[in-house]
Symmetry: C2
DNA sequence: TTTAAAAAGGGGTAAATCCCCCTTTTTTTT
DNA sequence: AAAAAAAAGGGGGATTTACCCCTTTTTAAA
């Protein structure tokens, strides 16, 4: 009896190709393929569609891998999620692991490693490369506080700041006094150690608060 | 006799999965896989390694798809390049086609479409989806001049502008008068129809002049 | 040697940044 | 429940930077 695997991945060509790969493994077979997390949750309503393992991409439209993994942890904790992504950003990986992923694979890996990862996740409950393990260890002692807390209002302001609008126009759009906007800016500059609006824009894009 | 295909793609898992897919097609077989353009050109030194078709990713480290395709057009014009990318940006697609690609496929396509594309490229010399064809038609009458020519010095300035430096500091770093820098900025703003530095930063990142 | 471009500059206005300061409300702590 | 702290909103005024228009010099090209 083979273990069942579901692929959640928005790029059809990759998911179909992966499907072929996994079906070639001795112990696994693909149950079906989904294009995003929402589709997956819909499918899960039928118990026959619940697999042993979900191979989950992170960057997807509609419902991304992190949200989906968190939802699965809530509703279907027996399903093991193996994350699969090009994303090497530390925070993203940590978010995914916190959401309940049992393993994290880069797309830049050998197929034999994928097979090993699947086997380990199924049999021992987790699979992690050295890199991810080190990352986990590093995140235990939160060294220099990488995750600065920005308030909702500030985040909203930052998105406006990533446009050609002046602060006065932003104030108008957010129904606030220009002085309040200046206050947001100043506190953000201080928290993030920024010098000017250009720095803020770069930060916003790096941290995905704003997608250009 | 099957047509030979080489995959150039930096994500090993995808290239291996694709490899399985293509080997499953009746008329095609994978000759080998490369991780980037440089590796491909090295391989090509042995004539036995020259395939009928190259399946080429665009975003690669070391030597990207556009450079590589241009090089192939020069040195091995008989080899047909089929571009394969997640990139939907118009300029990127046009650059790739100008570099000599015979077709452009999004990774978000069915495997049957990949097979069709390979067949068409091999037999008729090109394959294009409706979207790409429309894009080509649009680029013939260069309507609103999508490809503004930026001078080298201006591009260099833009990269500096994507930092927290003031224009004065940029002038210093580029060994120019602040007034010259202002001149660069003004001409760029006019060419690209920008209002301020924030707009410039967003433009630079969108067009990949600056990678955050 | 004209012609154009690149580089440099002057001066003015608006925007951004940076200091101080304040009140009110909400949340947390004691 | 009272006190303290944090969050949200607002201000005055000074300095710097950014932005814009227009001119001159220097350099490179035709």
């Amino acid at each position: 009896m083979k273990y069942s695997v579901v692929i959640v991945e928005d790029h059809i060509l990759l998911s179909q190709a992966l499907s072929g790969l996994v079906n070639g493994f001795a112990k696994f077979k693909i149950l079906y393929i989904c294009k995003n997390g929402k589709e997956l949750l819909t499918r899960f309503k039928d118990p026959k569609n619940i697999p042993d393992i979900v191979l989950m991409d992170i960057n997807m439209p509609i419902m991304n891998g992190i949200e989906t993994t968190a939802a699965l942890k809530e509703q279907y904790p027996q399903v093991k999620v193996l994350a699969l992504s090009v994303e090497e950003d530390e925070n993203t990986i940590l978010k995914m692991l916190r959401a309940g992923a049992k393993g994290y694979l880069l797309k830049d890996t050998e197929k034999s490693i994928l097979e090993n990862a699947l086997i380990q996740v199924q049999e021992t409950g987790f699979y992690h490369t050295k890199d991810v393990t080190n990352l986990l260890l590093g995140s235990l002692n939160p060294k220099e506080e990488n995750n600065v807390m920005l308030k909702d209002r500030e985040v909203e302001f930052i998105k406006h700041a990533c446009t050609e609008k002046t602060y006065k126009e932003i104030a108008n759009d957010m129904c606030l006094s220009p002085k309040t906007i200046e206050g947001y800016r100043d506190s953000i500059f201080e928290k993030l150690n920024l010098k000017n609006r250009t720095g803020l824009v770069i930060y916003a894009i790096k941290s995905k608060l704003f997608v250009p």
